[in-house]
């Protein structure tokens, strides 16, 4: 053993000679890892002389010769340590050298008893280790990186990991893939990976698409159903990565995970969530119904009681009952609003908003509650657009809340309401509305909590001033929903408060947009019903005056309900009430006398033909009589469904008298008679066609299409005189003359709305093109409701000409009436003869109630 390279010839060749002649480059190390002998092949391959290695410490020697990285050098030490510890042979992982080759050492320790005598290392050259780029630390000792990764991939059970060739055929298969997909390696290798996809995915060529995307982006990820060998499916997450070798595309790596569990957990979660949402909203709807119904009952009883002969003391007491009831109702409404806001189920509608008219009408309604010692000042900035897009009811609600607060807390002085545009961009305005009062003001400490729910700034005020403390927090949520904010500051001039809020409104871009909304204007009913309770009494008186000459059709299948409705209506002074007990009867009655009824009250759920169908049939016959639905449930969708079917309004059942008064008042007093209105409406449409829209031919065309498509069938004599060959084209050119011919109206024989000898039936062809809306809804605003909700504002300027402030004019036309400051002594009565025009044009003056 210690014979250094001797050449003794003997019968048994010297073991040292055999070592020297070994075909493997080999080294013998001392137990302390010093090189004691090097084979000839080693010296040859490493280009060294024996002197250069004998006696060298192994590690510095290897370091010098191969310059491996410290990590690679460690492969060697690890292998030797392991070999010694195990007293067995070990092979190190390849150590890369600078010369683009790697060396690995096979380590063989020699023991005599427990004594280590020597270590022989045999060296093997190889290519550079492919996995050298991967972080070396991750590689476990004792395994080559290649091997480690192969084993890892092969052993993973939860992921199907396999390679595809460039055309998508499967090249490798691991245990995970076998478990997940059910194919054995020999069954699947060579098949195209699209076998995992379902028919739908195959039809849209998803597998091919995925490879394409993968080639383009480097990777693609997808979630969807994949199929196993046995045909069962699982919800998979699939990641495909393009694999390149030396810059050449060699295939795809595909990793598939089974997410079926997660998917079903997700859908369970979603359905549980939906369920709870539904329960919540049902609960809200039921609450509103259950609480409001008896409240309305109580309030109407109070109102009726106030109608009777009472001693002053009794009147006082009933007054208190009534007022408390109102407050309670408001509280309930607030809480419902608040819970809707909190649950996120509150939606903002998109509609036309007339800011000036809303502000005016809110001021007017609050004004009636003020003592004479308080007066209103109203400033509407000249740049305030007349019509914008947003939610009129919510804007009104916020403003009403703030102005109402101001009125509540102000005993003398003035309340100033100021509205103007704060900023404007290409498609929206931010409108700032500010309410200044000279009331009791707000202590500094309380200002911070003003917009917090259920907070009132002073316990003593709670007693004096009723309310939930929810109003401002509702207002805050609403402004936020409308893209604005709300705030408070003390009044700098006098004792009192300033509340301001902003709201973002979209600009109205085209006349078409307005046209679309006209169909929605029916919703003005909401605002009508918001008029103060005190007015119900006067409304009832007004109604009693016209009731004897009005003719009603009541459609109701249940005899009991019929009788009660008859009783209610008679108690309001109505005498001509026709009855129908199902929808089909009603349709026949209305068709036979198209102008006989002033209003139809329609139950929804009836045998033979229900209220929806009946209303549609009446509209299809071209009859525009107002139809009011009566239904038992005040769920949100009900109302919309009624309106969709061509009805105009809605009364929840059981019918509350006050509510009935309001609805009837609205349709019989404030709305223009449908028999007359149609006629005037058509004149106006003609008016705006010629005046305003002449330069914008396309809009005029649209308008024409929407509303004037009907050709004359039973026209008035003078109209038929004008008929020419053109008449065959319903969409022909615009202009007054042609419009005359395209409108089909039979004028009522008398101006008094009560005699209707002739019918007001328009051609059925009119219907699909103009939504089933009362024509007066398109009307200019002598109509109270248009102002009240701030619906579209069309101001009559001169004669029959109409200017529509809609298009891109931004509210700066010369005829704008909103530019005046401090408008109005607001007329507290709802005089339908007085246009807002009137109101708005009055000289600036303060408002003395």
């Amino acid at each position: 053993m210690h014979d250094h390279g001797g050449g003794n010839a003997s019968a048994h060749p010297d073991i040292g000679l055999l070592f020297d002649l070994s075909p493997l480059p080999s080294l013998i190390l001392s137990p302390s890892w010093r090189i004691t002998r090097a084979s000839a092949r080693f010296l040859n391959e490493w280009h060294l002389s024996a002197e250069a290695c004998i006696g060298q410490e192994l590690l510095p020697f290897v370091q010098n010769q191969l310059s491996p990285s410290p990590v690679h050098l460690k492969f060697l030490t690890t292998a030797i340590d392991d070999a010694i510890a195990a007293r067995a042979e070990r092979t190190s992982m390849p150590m890369n050298t600078r010369r683009s080759v790697s060396w690995r050492a096979r380590v063989i320790p020699y023991f005599k008893g427990d004594e280590l005598l020597a270590i022989i290392t045999e060296w093997q050259e190889g290519p550079l280790s492919q996995l050298n780029l991967i972080k070396d630390e991750e590689v476990q000792p004792g395994l080559s990186t290649d091997e480690a990764f192969r084993i890892l991939v092969q052993a993973v059970k939860d992921y199907a990991i396999f390679l595809l060739d460039t055309s998508g055929h499967i090249a490798t298969w691991n245990t995970g893939a076998e478990l997940l997909k059910g194919y054995r390696r020999d069954e699947i290798v060579g098949k195209h990976f699209s076998v995992f996809y379902g028919k739908e995915d195959l039809d849209i060529k998803k597998p091919e698409m995925e490879l394409e995307i993968c080639m383009r982006d480097g990777r693609v990820e997808d979630e969807g159903w994949r199929y196993r060998k046995d045909g069962s499916r699982f919800w998979a997450n699939v990641v495909i990565t393009a694999v390149y070798k030396d810059g050449v595309h060699v295939g795809f790596g595909k990793v598939t995970r089974d997410l079926t569990e997660r998917k079903s957990a997700e859908s369970r979660l979603i359905s549980a969530y939906e369920e709870s949402e539904k329960l919540k909203s049902d609960f809200l709807a039921n609450m509103s119904h259950e609480i409001r119904t008896p409240m309305h009952g109580m309030l109407s009883a109070c109102a009726l009681l106030l109608d009777t002969t009472l001693s002053p003391r009794q009147r006082d007491i009933v007054g208190i009952m009534d007022e408390s009831g109102q407050v309670l109702l408001q509280v309930i409404n607030d809480i419902l609003d608040y819970s809707k806001l909190a649950s996120g189920s509150f939606s903002i509608h998109s509609d036309i908003v007339g800011i000036t008219s809303i502000v005016t009408s809110v001021v007017r309604s609050v004004q009636t509650t003020l003592p004479p010692s308080v007066h209103f000042e109203l400033f509407l900035a000249p740049d305030l657009p007349r019509s914008v897009q947003g939610d009129p009811l919510r804007y009104r609600q916020i403003l009403h809340n703030i102005v109402g607060n101001a009125a509540k807390f102000t005993e003398k002085g003035c309340i100033r309401v100021r509205a103007g545009v704060q900023r404007e961009d290409h498609d929206s305005y931010v409108v700032m509305t500010e309410v200044t009062d000279t009331g009791i003001g707000i202590p500094e400490v309380a200002a911070a909590g003003l917009f917090t729910p259920f907070t009132q700034f002073d316990a003593t005020t709670t007693k004096q001033y009723k309310g939930t403390g929810l109003g401002l927090s509702i207002a805050k949520s609403l402004t936020e929903l409308m893209g604005g904010s709300i705030g408070y500051r003390p009044n700098p001039e006098r004792h009192g408060s300033i509340f301001w809020f902003t709201a973002r409104f979209k600009k109205i871009k085209s006349l078409g947009q307005i046209q679309d909304w006209k169909s929605k204007l029916i919703r003005k009913g909401d605002a009508m019903l918001a008029i103060p309770e005190a007015d119900v009494v006067s409304l009832r008186r007004e109604l009693a005056e016209v009731a004897p000459v009005k003719s009603l059709l009541l459609v109701e299948d249940n005899i009991i309900n019929q009788k009660v409705m008859l009783g209610l209506l008679r108690s309001l002074g109505f005498k001509n009430i026709a009855l129908a007990s199902n929808g089909s009867e009603a349709v026949n009655m209305v068709r036979n006398k198209p102008a006989a009824y002033d209003i139809v009250l329609m139950d929804i759920n009836m045998p033979i033909m229900d209220g929806h169908q009946a209303s549609r049939a009446i509209r299809d016959a071209g009859i525009r009589v107002p139809i009011v639905a009566m239904t038992a449930y005040a769920l949100k969708g009900d109302r919309e469904r009624c309106l969709e079917h061509g009805m105009n309004d809605y009364i929840p059942k059981p019918v509350d008298k006050k509510y009935l008064i309001k609805v009837l008042g609205k349709w019989l007093l404030h709305m223009k008679d449908y028999r007359k209105a149609f006629d005037e409406q058509m004149n106006k449409l003609r008016g705006y066609e010629t005046l305003t829209l002449a330069p914008k031919g396309n809009m005029a065309d649209r308008l024409q299409q929407l509303s004037l498509t009907v050709r004359d069938q039973e026209s008035t004599p003078d109209a038929s005189d004008k008929k020419t060959g053109e008449e065959t084209n319903p969409l022909k050119s615009h202009g007054t003359q042609s419009s005359d011919e395209t409108i089909n109206i039979v004028k009522p024989t008398s101006e008094s709305g009560y005699q209707h000898a002739s019918s007001v039936v328009s051609s059925p062809r009119f219907e699909p093109l103009l939504p089933p809306v009362q024509p007066e809804m398109l009307d200019s605003f002598p109509d109270l409701d248009l102002q009240a909700t701030g619906d579209i504002i069309i101001t009559s300027t001169h004669g029959s000409h109409i200017s529509v402030e809609a298009a891109d004019s931004g509210g700066d036309t010369g005829t704008s009436t909103s530019g005046t400051t401090a408008t109005t002594p607001l007329d507290p009565t709802f005089d339908s003869e007085k246009g807002s025009d009137d109101v708005a044009h009055r000289d600036p003056s303060t408002l003395q109630p």
Binding site: M295, G297, I560, K563, V564, L568, S571, P654
Partner: protein, 134 residues
Amino acid sequence: MPDFGDHVDNGIFSQILEMDESDHDRDFSEPLVTNFFEQAEDTFEKMDRALAARDLNELSTLGHFLKGSSATLGFNKIRDSCQVVQQYGHKLTVDGVSEPDENICLKKIAEALQTAKVDTAELEKQMKRFFGTE
């Protein structure tokens, strides 16, 4: 007005009584209430028949029908039972959750119908006392 307990929504019923000529001459409300009990009896009979024929649709229609008139008069207890009949006739629970088992639906309806009959009989007695027609 006497207290009918939770049988009657006083607000609504008083609105009906308002329509009488006077408190001494209940020309409107009395025949109306009488009519209602006739209607109820008639409807209950139809419900019994529909129940025997396991006709859920018909039960739902009848439930809705009587619910309408009882609600109009403010007869809440009867109304609520009718609501149950209507809902289960649609194979829904009172909360609007689907109940696919017809047998359960029929059982619930039978129970509600029984309750409605008992409540109606009780209320009829009270009403007769109130109108002095006993």
